[in-house]
Amino acid sequence: MHKSFRFYVQLGLTLLVCAFLIIPIILSMLAGITDNFFIGWSSGFTTRWIVQVWDTYQVTIWRSIAIALACLVVTTLVGVPLAYMLARHKGGNSRLARAIEELLMMPVAVPGLATALALIMAYGQYREFRSSLLFILVGHVMFTLPFMVRPVLAVMQSAQLPVLEEAAASLGAGPLQRFFGIVIPNVFSGILAGALMVVTLSIGEFNITWMLHTPLTMTLPVGLADSYASMRLEVGSAYTLIFFLMIIPLLIAMQWVTHTTRSRVRL
């Protein structure tokens, strides 16, 4: 059978879209190691810009990693039990649970600017808090919490948790034994998927952080915005390159996890 005209139109469009999404990434990575992007690659390649970014902005990178990890810890400790409640309260059909789910999405729906403004208005007067990394962390936790809750909740809902728990109960396991022995191991893939998402989003969060940060709490994306505005294109590109090197492995891991989750969740 010959491929139809339609096939080639769709193929062409797909390639175009892929190019649109991927080429800028590649271009910016190349720009980060080009000696002079204005002249082009003929100017040669260099690690100068990367070294410069590393010198200038290294601290923002470590800071962002630290915040992302802290964010992961908090969202896991708080989000997994929360998802459990959403999945199980009143057999998973409670209005309260749906309302909470809705509420949790609000910090994602509402522009980050507003969340940040609200945090500053409400807690800006506590100087120690305001000028510490905790302040940024709070913003990140609010924004990323639903991204932990949702995949965990989804796995909980598809993993026949109620039946598994009933089975465990029939074998004599009490509520806590069930939560740690049955629930947690069986939603681990959801936690992993959520964790990767949380870390990724936290590392890249700009809209909230931009308003929340102080000179001592500048994060990677804020630094990126700075460098885009006030530095050579090559420096901004080098910084972006570093960002990509941090984030892309996480994204690939995420792909892998969701892939294996899907095949494992089915019971």
């Binding site: 993993a159 598994l164 009933e166 089975a167 074998l171 004599g172 396991a173 022995g181 191991p185 069986n186």
Partner: protein, 353 residues
């Protein structure tokens, strides 16, 4: 044989939070060591009854669950000492076969060495020697079913509860496992409650069968009781294939266009419905005077070991007749049928139904 417990449900009704009354207050007494099958169409309350016994649901106020005469109504499942096999097995996917089987023992803090021994013994009992290390998703449906059974038995429960444990399997496998299960239950002598909607499974496995209908118990009895002596239209229809013939009563007969059947009770002139089993119908040579119905063959189904005929005798729905496999039938052919009087059933009070 271990000392088995008796179970009693006293006025156990169940109304769910959404107001649905899944179970009207029922009474049920199960003898120690007995295998009782709950049988009924979907939604009739079988699972609900089982879950009340398990301690996964609690009866409406006034209801009581007794184990060996002792009130366990308020006890949650983990304290009742029951073993349960779920419809889709509910094996823990994060554990191996062995870990699944030993989970209850681990909860009870039995030492690892003892657990291992027990796993081996149980695996052998369910014919799965050597599969202890397998991952759950590497098992076939029938193997999963056996692991679920072994897991439930590992903790030596006082009561074994099974909710449609064979439904998810294909027909051939179901029959094999049914035989195994039958043998096993008889050996263990443990009080067992088994839920199914498959009447042949119920009859094959149950010492007694509880037929349920819309939240109520329609009949309790041995398989023979419910097959030969159903107490209602519903039970008669639900168990096996049942013919219904409707006609006008009079002169000790019920008459319809294709013939008449002996029936003495009803007032003359009233409508009456008689029931009988396909295998109780004989095809007789016409003109011998022994026939009590005549009709035309609507369809024939060759079923291998027999041939099933649908015959229109002009009395409501077609009469189903099972004949020996040797004869050969044609659609449209007229035949004469005889039903012996002792095979006829009638339910006075339900005629209107």
């Amino acid at each position: 044989m271990k000392n088995a417990v008796s179970i009693q449900l006293i006025q156990c009704g169940k109304t769910f939070a959404n107001g649905a009354q899944a179970l009207q207050p029922i009474e049920l007494a199960i003898r120690p060591g007995e295998t009782v099958v709950l049988l009924g169409p979907s939604g009739c309350g079988k699972t609900t009854t089982l879950r009340l016994i398990a301690g996964l649901e609690f009866p409406d106020a006034g209801g009581q669950v007794l184990f060996d005469g002792e009130d366990v109504t308020g006890l949650p499942i983990e304290k009742r000492g029951v073993g349960m096999v779920f419809q889709n097995y509910a094996l823990f996917p994060n554990m191996t076969v062995g870990e699944n089987i030993a989970y209850g023992l681990k909860i009870r803090k039995i030492p690892a060495a003892q657990r291992l021994k027990k796993i081996d013994a149980l695996l052998e009992m369910v014919h799965l020697q050597g599969l202890g290390q397998r991952r759950i998703d590497q098992l076939s449906g029938g193997q999963k079913q056996r692991v679920a059974l072994a897991r439930a038995l590992a903790v030596e429960p006082r009561v074994l509860l099974l909710d449609e444990p064979l439904t998810a399997l294909d027909a051939k496998l179901r029959e094999t496992l049914r035989a195994d299960l039958n043998q096993l239950l008889r050996t263990l002598g443990i009080t067992t409650i088994y839920v199914t909607h498959d009447q042949s499974e119920a009859m094959a496995l149950g010492d007694r069968v509880v037929v349920m209908e819309r939240g109520k118990i329609a009949q309790i009895g041995t398989p023979q009781d419910i097959y030969y002596r159903p107490v209602s239209h519903f039970v008669a229809d639900f168990i096996g294939t049942m013919n219904r013939v409707t006609g006008v009563a009079g002169g000790g007969q019920v008459r319809f266009s294709g013939g008449q059947l002996p029936y003495a009770v009803s007032a003359a002139g009233s409508q009456a419905t008689l029931m009988f089993r396909p295998e109780d119908v004989e095809v007789v040579a016409d003109g011998m005077g022994t026939a009590n119905m005549h009709g035309e063959i609507l369809s024939t189904f060759f079923l291998g070991d027999r041939t099933r005929l649908h015959v229109n005798v002009g009395a409501g729905q077609a009469v189903v007749v099972d004949t020996g496999r040797s004869a050969s039938w044609q659609v449209g052919q007229r035949i004469a049928l005889r039903v012996p009087e002792h095979a006829l059933l009638h339910f006075q009070d339900e005629v209107a139904a």
